[in-house]
Symmetry: C2
Subunit: 257 residues, 2 copies
């Protein structure tokens, strides 16, 4: 590992749970001697990547990140990051992947990718609007949204998009419980006939749910093997996307095994 | 300069104007040979600090910054950063410094610091609400706000807080022009009798004006020397605060000499 890698790997030791780390603790966790650790931290501090604080002179992340993250966001908007992940997800599952963002009480589709594995695939429309109760993405978002928001959405008359749309609030609340346990939501023909979709919520930097990533496949193609593959892949890729966007899943979110 | 410093200094070459940089250009700007530059960029890329893009395989800032800046913000909220800068500003000027943030059409004071240089000083209140037309902070914000927002604020009846408050929209517009040229606003007894204040706008990552930093001194103490000192210091410290918060002054903002 090069010197620079050693220094950067020190930064990776910070987390929500450990926002400040002392020199000895740094050396211990990084498996380096104190003199080397100190030298690397001093270089990081000179560039505003860490700073020292408090009576114990512990280290925390420095002010350089705010500026650099603003430049990164200006150079690579969220949609471009999402497209990269969706592309991988389509390739891994052989099905259509899409991302939608919460706007008020609706989800708007912001990016989608197709696979060329099969002749048939679920087609998406640009800026399609998804109802929260009738789609796997919407259910994934509801399951990780504040209770008063869920109450508000479910207290309104819920329209049936298809004969299979679940519109009973009590039944939906049961589904939300299950989704909180699994980390993903499922909808079979709830929004479009013959579409079977799986969705996982996306979280922002304050662990608020801001949208979802879903994989949509024809019902005719869905078997146990494909279901299991999609569940694993959509969980893995969406977790990665949340990270890439600077977000954090809440502690209640199931850990991927 | 250590290896890590060399690598981190490469990151400092990115800006709004140059979001992507090729290998040769990196080497040239950094004054390093291509092999060394390549090795450092490869280490940075391995940790998500840069990534390659496009047909030219140019480098841009990587996804690591969004996550690290979210962790930085969680560890050190904006108010704490502001207090550090205000403290320096009070020390440098011997006067009261404060920061306020725009909320709707009002400014709310979010942080302030006193100097112990003089027996008398301008006192602040917690969460004080400042009118845009009657304070130096408000005028600084108006001068760098969108025209429709200025029209909206100035089209309403403007209250006089003191006999010296300027309430004539045409006269205020003249002041705003001057503020855009100077980079700072001045108010003498416009909000509180016998208070002379100077303010400079604070910008966010999209160069929108989000608030202002001001230095408030008793009119009785203000002379040419103190005015000149305050103008220099409030410009320098507020520019630093905008940077620390990840913000960027718009291109129209006067360059500090």
């Amino acid at each position: 590992m090069g010197t620079t890698s050693k220094a950067l790997s020190l930064l990776e030791l910070f987390s929500r749970a450990t926002p400040e780390i002392g020199l000895s603790e740094f050396a211990r966790r990084a498996g380096m001697n104190k003199a080397t650790t100190y030298r690397l931290l001093t270089e990081l501090a000179a560039h505003g990547f860490v700073e020292q604080t408090g009576s114990g002179r512990e280290y925390r992340l420095g002010p350089a990140f705010l500026r650099l993250s603003a430049l990164r966001e200006a150079a690579v908007p969220m949609r471009e990051v999402a497209l990269g992940v969706l592309n991988d997800l389509s390739k891994a599952t052989g099905e259509t992947a899409h991302m939608s963002l919460l706007q008020g009480e609706l989800l708007t589709s912001v990016a989608y990718t197709y696979s060329d594995t099969h002749g048939t695939q679920v087609r998406m429309e640009d800026a399609e609007v998804l109802m929260l109760h009738a789609t796997s993405s919407g259910l994934a978002v509801l399951a990780f949204s504040p209770a008063d928001f869920v109450d508000q959405v479910l207290s309104q008359p819920l329209k049936a998009r298809t004969p299979d749309t679940v519109t009973d609030p009590a039944q939906i609340r049961q589904q939300l419980k299950q989704i909180r346990q699994n980390g993903f939501a499922v909808s079979i023909s709830g929004f479009e006939q013959d579409v079977h979709s799986h969705a996982v919520p996306v979280f922002d930097s304050s662990s608020a749910c801001i949208g979802a990533v879903a994989v949509a496949a024809p019902v005719a193609r869905m078997d146990d093997e494909l279901q299991s593959l999609i569940q694993t892949e959509v969980l893995n890729h969406t977790t990665r996307l949340t990270r890439l966007l600077g977000g954090f899943a809440p502690p209640s979110f199931p850990t991927i095994t």
